[in-house]
């Protein structure tokens, strides 16, 4: 183990090998940011569960449209993965197709989420003071906002992939976008699976003896 207090005075200079990471700083920053986002969603899920254990919990109807939206988001993530594969093999056309399909599917997903919001609002027993309803809007809203943020990065990347471009930079951007989309897909699958379809969180809480 390193002993930083051992003062070196000999004629031989002992330097650690060049320690700079070979990875771009943006990758480290993105990973750190994803950790922050993971904490954000974890807290909302825990808050949902915390409220759910009380006997007056009123579950909400679950719009079936969310299933379609989920498949669309899976498709978006796959398209980004396609773009990543393509850019690694220098297949620029494939990358463009993947990027465009991924972004378009994300926009479809967001429109689908807004439709799901409207469907829920149109239901007879819609009550904004019901915590389950409010949590639905909060969690889907914050997830959607993260995707909108991702689309800003996507637009900047797409704008650069025509004409002359810096291939290394584009490759890095595509990889960052793909990581981000995969992450938001995983987050969505967790919140959708636990909170907005079936009775899964309830089962987990019962298993833990909390309900």
């Amino acid at each position: 183990m390193e002993k930083p207090w051992a003062t070196e005075t000999g004629s031989v200079v002992r330097l650690p090998p060049w320690s700079r990471s070979p990875h771009p700083p943006a990758r480290t920053a993105l990973r750190m940011f994803l950790a922050v986002v993971a904490v954000l969603f974890m807290l909302m899920i825990v808050a949902y569960g915390d409220r759910m254990v009380f006997p007056d919990w009123r579950p909400t109807p679950q719009p079936a449209l969310l299933w379609t939206n989920t498949w669309v988001l899976i498709f978006a993530s796959l398209a980004f993965q396609w773009a990543r594969f393509a850019v690694r093999r220098n297949r620029i056309d494939g990358m463009r197709v993947g990027l465009l399909a991924g972004g378009a599917a994300t926009i479809v997903f967001l429109v689908g989420q807004i439709l799901a919001w409207q469907q829920l609002q149109a239901m007879e027993f819609f009550d904004i003071s019901n915590p389950a309803v409010a949590f639905f809007y909060l969690i889907t809203g914050i997830h959607g906002l993260h995707l909108v943020g991702g689309l800003v990065a996507w637009v900047r990347t797409v704008a650069r992939v025509w004409g002359d471009f810096d291939a290394a930079r584009i490759r890095r951007n595509v990889e960052l976008c793909t990581t981000y989309w995969h992450f938001l897909l995983v987050i969505w699958l967790i919140v959708f699976g636990l909170l907005f379809t079936g009775d899964n969180l309830n089962i987990v809480l019962k298993f833990c003896g909390l309900r």
Partner: protein
């Protein structure tokens, strides 16, 4: 890590492999307003934080006037008093201390101390400051809206924080919540910058275990903040929705002013959990940079290596980790499963172990050191005393059975002011006296500095020691007036008056500090590059104040840790981190001859 040996007479690979893309401004606006230089942004952060901190200081004066001399000042109504309490707490904790330690010292010191030219994302760093400034302006705006700022206490507990009847429940609370959300967005930008800079921009030879403890403290606190602020963010958004859209995250079915409100089914305790999941790490977000900075101050001014460096690093990390599993000790009176109380009391007391390690190591660093009682050292020693005092009362309050009767009394006020208000502020002062010569090129005036220290240090004890006794008597906090109550003797009122006088003197003494900052900028003794004869890289720059890019044409190579003070046989009592071993050896040989 496997080291690579180089014969010093042979070629050593250059320290610099790539030029960080720098934005070199030419105009005044580019240099000082829309600046992307970490050092300028640090000063912008510091000036903004200190300015808003002065507002909070004035508010504490208002509170103390009311408490010390009730029924005397007609301009302090019960509502104004609660607003002063709330805004004082929120500003001091978040907008002053967090912003100053991380945005101010973080931006200034991280690149310089790790041998980097700047932060890794200069543009994001600039935006983070402007978002912070916007958050501060929103907060200030709440003083001028109808109803004034929120008066719900700095913890903003619902349901009362958004119910009519609480001061500022119209626009004040909305502005507060939006301001907090923006603060967190701005901080996240800055925080990602600090973390990635430390991880990826360290100069050659600067291993993690050679970093000064200041950088370790700021780095760990930043990680804590990145992971804790989402809790405040989500609770602020949820409360905002409760207030504006009528949702019921935190609002139960409730009657207000004789009317049944539309809220139904929310959980106020849920807010408390979310708030304190942020709130407790926040204590260490403020404390860890202070721990790091004070370690460096003590080592430099005692001319001695820090005792137990590796233990100090691990203690910082352990405190950071533990701080996430103690939050409910703020909620013993809110009601919880007794096993939870036991769990949180245990984790709370366990934090005392790494904290005590740090305190012992500071004391052992001072032991037989060549102590120079400079102004920064006085503040550092003042910190150690105050932190021990505040920490010991934390042991009382961490225990459920002791906390219950003391909860919401002045004992708690005394405890947290000693441990997370006065202690970090003493470090802030010490750090400013220590690094001001690097920032401006001039020394701060010593006489004014010592006067400032003694009034502040003795004065804070005059304020907070008696509060412990008031708390043990059962005097409740946040009350506008105590009135006539059986268990509160007349002497408590006299003590309150004495505390107020001490507080006003301490508050006024800060004018000496501010005057010193301005006076010394023009008239202070010229500092030179390394007035404290310190080892860390910020003191080895070719220019003082350092120019944009920090280190001339080549980045420094680091050969040693940051604490080579009084090394036996060395020519001088300090060996900077960038001095190669052969030079030290040569000096030793010369000494022998």
């Amino acid at each position: 890590m496997a080291y690579v040996a180089h014969d010093e007479s042979a070629y050593i690979p250059p320290a610099e492999v790539e030029e960080v893309e720098l934005y070199h401004p030419k105009t005044f606006i580019g240099k000082y307003i829309w600046s992307q230089d970490a050092k300028v942004i640090a000063i912008q952060y510091a000036i903004t934080a200190i300015a808003i901190g002065l507002v909070a200081l004035v508010l504490s004066g208002v509170m103390r006037l009311q408490l010390g001399f009730p029924d005397t000042f007609s301009f302090i109504s019960p509502g104004n008093y609660l607003q002063a309490v709330t805004m004082h707490g929120m500003i001091m904790v978040i907008y002053l201390l967090t912003a100053l330690f991380l945005g101010g010292f973080g931006n200034y010191l991280i690149p310089l101390m790790i041998g980097a030219r700047d932060m890794v994302f200069p543009y994001v760093k600039m935006v983070s400051y402007w978002v912070y400034l916007f958050a501060v302006l929103l907060l200030v705006a709440s003083f001028f809206v109808p109803g004034g700022p929120t008066g719900s206490g700095w913890t903003l507990y619902p349901p009362q924080s958004i119910l009519p009847g609480t001061p500022g429940s119209d626009a004040g609370i909305v502005l507060m919540l939006v301001s907090l959300a923006f603060f967190i967005i701005g901080f996240t930008m800055g925080g990602l910058n600090y973390v990635v800079t430390v991880l990826q921009l360290r100069t050659r030879g600067m291993t993690l275990m050679r970093m000064p403890l200041t950088v370790w403290g700021i780095f760990t606190a930043t990680v804590l903040a990145l992971l804790a602020f989402p809790a405040l963010f989500v609770s602020a958004v949820m409360m905002l929705l409760d207030r504006l859209l009528g949702t019921s995250f935190f609002m139960p079915a409730i009657m207000s002013l004789g009317q049944q409100l539309e809220h139904n089914g929310g959980s106020p305790v849920l807010f408390q959990h979310l708030f304190w999941f942020f709130g407790h790490p926040e204590v260490y977000i403020v404390a860890l940079p202070a721990f790091g900075i004070v370690s460096d101050l003590i080592s430099v001014h005692a001319r001695k290596n820090i005792f137990g460096y590796r233990m100090m690093v691990w203690a910082i990390i352990a405190i950071g980790g533990l701080s996430f599993v103690v939050w409910a000790h703020h909620m013993y009176v809110s009601g919880m499963n007794p096993y939870f109380g036991f769990f949180f009391a245990t984790t709370t007391l366990i934090i005392a172990v790494p904290t005590a390690i740090k305190v012992y190591n500071w004391v052992l660093t001072l032991w037989r050191g060549n102590i120079h009682l400079t102004v920064p050292m006085l503040f550092a020693i003042g910190f150690v005393f105050t932190f021990i005092n505040g920490g010991l009362t934390g042991l009382f309050l961490g225990n459920v059975v002791v906390d219950l009767p003391l909860s919401d009394t002045y004992f708690v006020v005394a405890h947290f002011h000693m441990v997370m208000a006065v202690s970090p502020i003493l470090v802030v002062f010490g750090a400013i006296y220590h690094w001001y010569p690097k920032i401006t090129g001039r020394m701060l005036n010593d006489t004014m500095g010592k006067t400032h220290f003694w009034i502040t240090f003795v004065g804070t004890y005059a304020i907070y020691y008696p509060m412990h006794y008031l708390g043990i008597l059962g005097v409740p906090r946040r009350y506008y007036a105590l009135g006539t109550t059986d268990f509160i003797p007349d002497s408590a009122h006299s003590v309150n008056a004495a505390i107020t006088i001490a507080a006003l003197i301490v508050g006024a003494a800060q004018i000496i500090f501010l005057y010193n900052l301005v006076w010394s900028y023009f008239n202070g003794k010229r500092a030179g590059g390394n007035p404290w004869r310190a080892t860390t890289l910020e003191w080895q720059t070719s220019d003082t104040p350092p120019k944009h890019g920090n280190f001339g044409s080549t980045l420094p190579l680091v050969y040693r840790w940051a604490y080579d003070y009084s090394v036996p046989g060395a020519k001088e009592d300090f060996i900077p981190q960038n001095v190669p071993p052969a030079k030290v050896a040569a000096a030793k040989d010369k000494n022998k001859k």
